[in-house]
Amino acid sequence: MSFAVFATAIISSMLINNVILMQFLGICPFLGVSKKSSSAVGMALAVMFVMVIASAVTYTLYDLVLHPYNIPYISTIAFILVIASLVQLVEIVIKKYSKSLYKGLGIYLPLITTNCAILGISEANITNIWSTTTPFGTGLFIAVSTAFGTALGFGLVIFAFSSIRERLDAANVPAAWKGVPISLVVAGIMSLAFFGLAGII
């Protein structure tokens, strides 16, 4: 549990193994909510909020309940239920205690349940980080840092992409490529750029 572990987890999950461009998780919000950069930022914040909490909860659940009772095979169903109820809970809590935050994040929260990045990171944490020998605290720490880094990477890419898309609206694009196709080409080029980062650690 040190800063080095934290930094490595963050940089690798944010830049090198970027959640959208390398792992293809969370493509739906990436294409859906990236028309304006303000909504992209709102979505990114909401994802970060839920992703960090969900990773911590699902990792704990797996380590302390599913594995000891020998039922790891129901992880999918358990995780999706935990995430769905967590999103509801977060929504209620935010609504009660912070009106301004709710105004900013509120409309994005219900969309997050079906955002595959959240469930994907929870599952990936189990396959990549969890093992019988890793102590609970260390594993949880790495899982949460990975989730934080992943959410940062998500925010970075979705913000950059939405800024490009705002400019793209004014550009003279051939009729056949207008809209989603040209956005996908942009995403492909961004993905190539991120590919070049492989190997910096």
């Binding site: 461009l21 390398m22 792992q23 293809f24 998780l25 969370g26 493509i27 739906c28 294409l31 095979y73 129901i74 992880s75 999918t76 169903i77 995780f79 999706i80 239920l81 769905a84 349940t113 079906t114 955002n115 595959c116 469930l119 994907g120 599952e123 990936a124 396959t127 009729a175 056949a176 490529w177 207008k178 809209g179 989603v180 196709p181 040209i182 996908l184 080409v185 995403a187 492909g188 080029i189 993905s191 190539l192 590919f195």
Partner: protein, 255 residues
Amino acid sequence: MTKKENFLKGFIKENPIFVYLLGMCPALAVTATFETSLGMGLLVIFVLTSSNIVVSLFKNFIPQQVRTPSYIVIIATFVTVVRMMTDAYAPLLAEALGVFIPLIVVNCLILGRAESFASKNKVVDSAIDGFGMALGFTFGLISIGVIRELLATGGIMYGDYLPFFVDQPFELFTFDWIINLFVQDFSIRDYGLAMFALPPGAFIALAFILAYMQSRKNKKLRLEEEAKKQRIEELKKAALERKRQAAMKKAGEAS
């Protein structure tokens, strides 16, 4: 809508990937080869058909307020079943698809069909709808997969991940024999565009397909517009003709 139309709508007209942009994550992530796309498609066919049947069977029992959680539980059950089956009988496919097997749960296509079709229609119709939509999804995955694999390796392999019907991996299709008619000792494999097997290629290959679909749609719209214009023109001409004749008649009467 007849049963046949219900079945066929998923292929082109309401194709989940190309028209509705649903399930984009697997459409980009598992389509590096033909075989993984086919495998993913088979899993989705099973999950979507059976979840549609079950949702439709229980539609009167499930209270309105807890609709979505119940659907999620039903879908997640089938996904878990599928996950264990793949682990047991096609372990290499399970390894290749990895996290995208559990992620079928959050595929918007499946929950969307349960909400918009299965919860309102009869069991048989829901089954046909689920099967047809899933086939359309598979068709979309496979067309991306074939294009990517052809560009990346110059051939299509079968047998690596799906160990059914074959003992050894073999090439379903390759450009080699055509080229070997003209040049000896040449393997297209050495000249593959490896980018198309990697993430950037996924985005670009899908972009090309969507652009093609859009250009077709645009062409159709343009043709329709032209036809409409032509019709209006004809109507105008006819009206003018009538007017002229009426005027002639009037002139004739006057004289």
